[in-house]
Amino acid sequence: MTVSIHLDDIVQEYPRPGGGLNRVIDELTLHIDAPEIVMLLGPSGCGKSTLLRMMGGMRPYGVQTPTSGSVSIDGEPCLGPHDDTVMVFQQYANRPDLTVRSNISFPFRLGLWRRRVPVAEQRRRVDRILEAVGLADKAELRPWQLSGGQNQRVALARALVLKPRILLMDEPFGALDAQTREEMQALLVELFQENPCAVVFVTHDVTEALLLADRVVVLSAGPAKVVDDFLIPEARPRSHAWQRSTATLALEERILGHLHASGGPGQVRVTV
């Protein structure tokens, strides 16, 4: 599968409440040209969500995004919502009136996906993903009967059932407890291996970044620029031994160094 996301010379300015402009992102360039997991880190408020929404074509009301520069997907300029990306947020927005199964198959009620995926295939995919995220026995329950982690699995399943070519994840596991977060990370790796796509994953958790990334991109704050961009060739799933190796710890220090330089401590997390 081929996929490309090109952000070129992106500038983003938001109006300040008092008047004047706040330049959040400054001439940022980032190219993603393969189905890989890109972990995007940066100090809080530096513009990560803004970038992610740009790639998803979800633009805020009343503000032009980007202010200048271009976003293109597979060589085509990305001007609005498009069908190749699906987003997953920390806030999972599962529908309380629908069962787990209906929450996951919800996109297939939309004309766009109904036309694209034949009914038999829809059903096969929903069954398959229910198994994969370990919710097959909970298919007829409702979101409020599930834990936070299980709810996030529903949200992830709803995204993956579409087999998107680009998966945009904005701190999806940020609100989960440590153990559930590890389960979700393992699940993502498993599902990615089955169905590789371009994943852009925003996190403030350095450990998570090192565990999942093919590639790590670190942004600075005020305004955001790419300050580091490197590959991690280690195969997944990654062992505890690898995570504790000096080489990995050095990478961790490298990322933390960037984040502290531009954002100050306290805004990032290391979980071990």
Binding site: G56, L112, L162
Partner: protein
Amino acid sequence: MWNPYVPLGASQRRTLSLVGVVSVLISWSLLSGLGLVGPAKLPAPWDVGGALVRLSWDVGRGESPLLIATLWSTSRVLVAGMLVIVIGVPAGVAMGASPKIDAIFSPLIDPFRSAPIVAVLPILVMWLGIGELMKITFLFLGAVVYLVPMVRDAVRSVPHTYFTSARDLGATELEAVRLSLLPMAMPRIADAITVAVSVMWTYITVAEYINAERGLGQLIQNARRFSAMDQVFAGIFVIIALALITYSAMVALRRRVFHWETT
């Protein structure tokens, strides 16, 4: 100790409610029994009971005047209720989903919530005559001005994440409204319908006073004309009972259908 957040037990609640009703009944009986208020002004409870029995079966004609009147009134509420739902709910949803549509129609509807709709009745009579058309229209107008703003607010109070996440998944605007906003607003739309039906039960007598032809309003109006206060009271109680039954049935139905909403 007083704490407004601790609900009463079911039996304690029932006992206290019963105490309220029974003490009113006792005071009422005392007022009548001791002759403090004459029967022309306030009929005794037992006289009202007697009137209820007599209205339930008219031996001379071999029919039940109360049942016939109830059926007439209920059908009117039913027909007007259908119209209110079929027209009012889509209108309210459109206003809730589109600020533009709301801006156009709100000034036309909102003032009537506080306007005396009863004052419109003579105009309706002038335009539509005194038949069924006028009665149904009156009930419809009276209820729809309550329903539409409530439906609008129901749609607006749905957290916007449900709309945006549907849009993120590729829903068209119409799909996001139909498949996300509408189902999420349904419990409160059901509340709006319940209120609308209650409002219609309060207006039904007014609608039926005019030309006084069949219905509970007519029954009351006729009784008043012959100064049969016991029958007036009997008619009022029947309307209250019908309104209460409809209300509890709708609340129970809502709780069953939208049980997800309470959590």
